[in-house]
């Protein structure tokens, strides 16, 4: 399906992916009683953060992420997206790690789980990181900075 005006968009794959993410988060909520927030789970797995989620569970969830990616690659075929250079990845990674730790969550915890619950903290967090992300890309584009080859 092609979205009028946006020939490069993949709305059906996006919606399908979103539904899978929603099902995963629903399984964590209704099955385990937890928020499927990846930054928090990563912090828990590595011992950086404390939470009542068993550490083994945190590792299993993280292990599932690349396994799920493999599943999609096996069905849909390999794809080779371009990533930023190592130096850029380090800067971005540091910001993402520090920011999600300070802000108590990322796209999954705040953006999916919190927004759907109408949590005021998550609504504000999501609005903030969206605006910051949009501004960052706009400024980098204005400066002619290309990060993806």
């Amino acid at each position: 399906m092609i979205l009028p005006g946006f020939p490069d968009a993949a709305p059906l794959a996006g919606l399908g992916g979103g539904i899978l993410i929603g099902l995963a988060a629903a399984l964590m909520l209704l099955g385990m009683g937890r928020i499927a927030g990846v930054s928090g789970i990563a912090g828990r797995a590595t011992g950086i953060s404390n939470s009542s989620l068993p550490r083994s569970s945190a590792w299993l969830f993280l292990l599932g992420l690349p396994l799920g990616a493999l599943l999609v690659l096996a069905i849909a075929g390999d794809f080779d997206p371009s990533f930023a250079e190592p130096f850029t990845l380090v800067i971005a990674g540091l910001l993402v790690g520090a920011g999600t730790k300070l802000g108590s969550g990322c796209t999954s915890g705040h953006g999916v789980c919190g927004m759907s619950r109408l949590s005021p903290r998550s609504l504000v967090a999501t609005l903030t990181f969206m605006v910051a992300g949009i501004a960052t890309v706009a400024i980098m584009n204005a400066m002619g900075l290309k990060v993806l080859q």
Partner: protein, 139 residues
């Protein structure tokens, strides 16, 4: 024990599959979505919309359950206070997300798509978390 762990692994697999199918492990797709004032790619709005709708239904069920299906009790966030830390942290995260087009979940999922790049991102991200933990302990 196994009965309690399998749903978590399954949730991780579903999550990773959804991220990959939806385009979140493709930094160009993510940065295209954030490029609102340029060549905007709305795909991620569909990802977010699909996920939020399913989760909103789950939230509607949650209060009617005495306990989760595979665990003894719900352990959910209860804070409602808006703090400078929440907003400042989310802003930092947004800048990092915009720079490389990666957030935490796709970083882990992409370990099998672009192993070296994803590993660098994930290690730096964990280092960023450690940095905050250390400074907060000193404070």
């Amino acid at each position: 024990m196994i009965a309690r762990q399998l749903p978590v692994l399954l949730a991780g697999i579903l999550f990773g599959a959804g991220l990959t199918l939806g385009g979140m492990t493709d930094p160009a797709r993510v940065r295209g979505f954030l490029d609102l004032f340029g060549d905007w790619d709305p795909t991620l709005a569909f990802v977010m919309g699909g996920a939020v709708i399913v989760m909103a239904i789950a939230w509607a069920f949650q209060p009617r359950m005495a306990h989760p299906l595979f665990a003894d009790a719900f352990a959910l966030p209860t804070r409602r206070d808006l703090t400078p830390k929440l907003i400042g942290g989310s802003a930092l995260f947004g800048v990092g997300w915009g720079i490389a087009g990666l957030c935490p979940g796709p970083g882990f999922a992409a370990l099998v798509i672009k192993p070296m790049s994803a590993a660098i991102f994930v290690v730096a991200m964990l280092a960023g978390m450690v940095l905050i933990r250390i400074t907060e302990k000193d404070a």
